[in-house]
């Protein structure tokens, strides 16, 4: 029999410590560290948004990249073609991605399990095909190069920030947007709405008979997840100085799914850890061998077999064993 208890490591302000450490990278780390940090932050938000579906609600989406890509294109087009400020383009990207998620999700939530997964994949491939061919708006296979950085002059006015390069400043902006988004998502997950989603994951039939309209809740979380993926995509387009059809192509859905599962879908911070692990592994291995996909695949296999609950699941189990408890404490 198991109980859930709180322990020192679940009460420790991990988030604050990590945030402070991450925030100091532009001053303490190299240019390359900032680059990696930006990528990890963006992927972390993307993966956590996917986990709203996979871990929280039990909906496996293979097409989450669609909303990431739509966010990237909307923000990129608005900022480049229409010279719109970032402060407007970012919310527009989130709302746009959420709107597409509403339309596609309307059909997807009518199916369950593998059929749901296949339909999400189908929609994402449609989005990719349109982005790849619609030259006038998306730049087609040439993509949308030279998306400008947001105007960050105001940041240089802050003492201590004036020495930073624009890439560093954008990193800090990204970090703040990502952390605020993660806090919002965590709030959603622990809310009564989040509890209903968990009930749906655990037992949709029972959930319906406590009065939960399963499809409507699934659609609502699909839209939320799409919106947050759109924010991640918008940041990614600026970070990469351009938006390309690759961002909407299915391997990126697989990549974010790997991050999520690798980190641990039962834990709120699992996908964040998964994103950091995959980005760092990727960078390390590429610098040693050209056969990096092979090495990466082997490492992932070993990790997934060693920690079926993901890295965070493995750590939690280890800590629980160390302290002689059988609890599952840090679970969101």
């Amino acid at each position: 029999m198991r109980c859930r208890k709180t322990t020192w490591y679940s009460r420790f302000p991990w988030m604050l410590v990590v945030f402070v450490a991450a925030f100091s990278i532009p001053w303490l780390g190299s240019r390359y560290d900032t680059f990696l940090g930006t990528q990890i932050a963006i992927d972390a938000l993307f993966a956590v948004s996917l986990n709203l579906l996979v871990g929280t609600t039990g909906l496996v989406s293979f097409g989450h990249v669609a909303y990431f890509g739509i966010g990237a294109y909307i923000c990129g087009i608005l900022m480049k073609t229409y010279s719109m400020p970032f402060a407007l383009a970012l919310p527009a990207a989130a709302l746009g991605a959420a709107a597409f998620a509403l339309v596609f999700g309307f059909f997807c939530v009518r199916l369950t399990k593998i059929y749901f997964a296949m339909l999400t994949l189908a929609f994402s491939q449609i989005v990719w095909a349109i982005c790849f061919k619609w030259d006038a708006v998306t730049g087609g296979d040439q993509g949308l190069p030279d998306v400008p950085y947001p105007a960050l002059d105001w940041m240089s006015a802050i003492p201590g920030f004036d020495s930073l390069r624009i890439a560093d400043q954008f990193y800090l902006l990204t970090l703040v947007v990502v952390v605020l988004s993660l806090m919002a998502i965590q709030r959603i997950v622990t809310s009564p709405f989040g509890r209903m989603l968990t009930a749906i994951r655990e037992n949709p039939e029972r959930a319906a008979f406590i009065g939960v309209d399963v499809r409507t809740y699934e659609l609502a979380v699909f839209v939320l997840a799409g919106g947050f993926a759109g924010i991640a995509g918008a940041l990614f387009g600026i970070f990469n100085r351009g938006v390309f059809a690759d961002y909407v192509y299915w391997p990126k859905s697989a990549e974010v799914m790997i991050m999520t599962i690798l980190g641990g879908i039962e834990y709120f911070w699992g996908p964040v850890v998964g994103a950091a692990t995959l980005v760092l592994l990727n960078q390390q291995i590429t610098s040693y061998t050209q056969y990096w996909p092979f090495v990466l695949g082997v490492i992932l296999l070993v990790l997934l077999f060693a920690f079926p609950g993901g890295i965070v699941g493995g750590i939690a189990a280890g800590l629980a064993r160390l302290s002689g408890r059988n609890g599952r404490d840090v679970r969101a």
Binding site: M1, R2, C3, R4, K5, R187, I188, T190, S191, P192, F193, G194, R195, M196, T198, A199, E202, N203, E205, R206, A207, A208, F209, I210, G211, V212, D213, V214, Y217, R328
Partner: protein, 242 residues
Amino acid sequence: MLEVRGVSKSFAGFYAVTEVSLVVAQGQIAAVIGPNGAGKSTLFNLITGHLQPTAGRVLIQGRDITGVPPHRICGMGMGRSFQRTNIFPKLTVLENVQAALLAHQGRGRNFWSRADALCREESATLLASIGLADQAHMIAGTLSYGNQKQLELGIALASDPKILLLDEPTAGMSANETHETIALLERIAGERGLTLLFTEHDMAVVFSIAQQVAVMHQGRIIADGSPATVRADAEVRRVYLG
């Protein structure tokens, strides 16, 4: 309270339930019995909206609920438990009933408060009334089978039902657990003035608490009345009671 009017259900031409009519009065404890495959569970799924009848109507308190989806029927005063245990296994016991209370109070759309802080006292009271107060913080899936069934009852009660449908509430229980469950059901039904409709295999259970017994055989109701009349019915003795 509950009225089933000439309900039939066919699966690809095979009639699992044929023209079943049944009336359960307010406050009554009624049982549906019958051999395996008689159509009891199908009848339950028709009443609770999980299946749509091919013909006929279902009414609660005079309101037609035929074709209403389960999540709405739940709000119209009907609670149910399932034949296979149906709880939220990875949530704690407290969180199970808390989720049901939140859903019942229509607070599921609130996505900004902390769920943990809401309905705590109500949840605790409810757990105490079904005898699970000590297990409140255990992961529900790790409870004993009998306790899981109790919890399922608690989840159903959270929606404050007027009528409760229980599909084999004592299936798979030890004699002791069966006895306790029956005592619990009787007490709760009495306290809350609930109408109960349940299916059951165990005849001792049926005849110990039911005030009304309906016997199903091959998708039809072949007898319906007080335990004494049903027990004396020649047809029932032939097909079922032996």
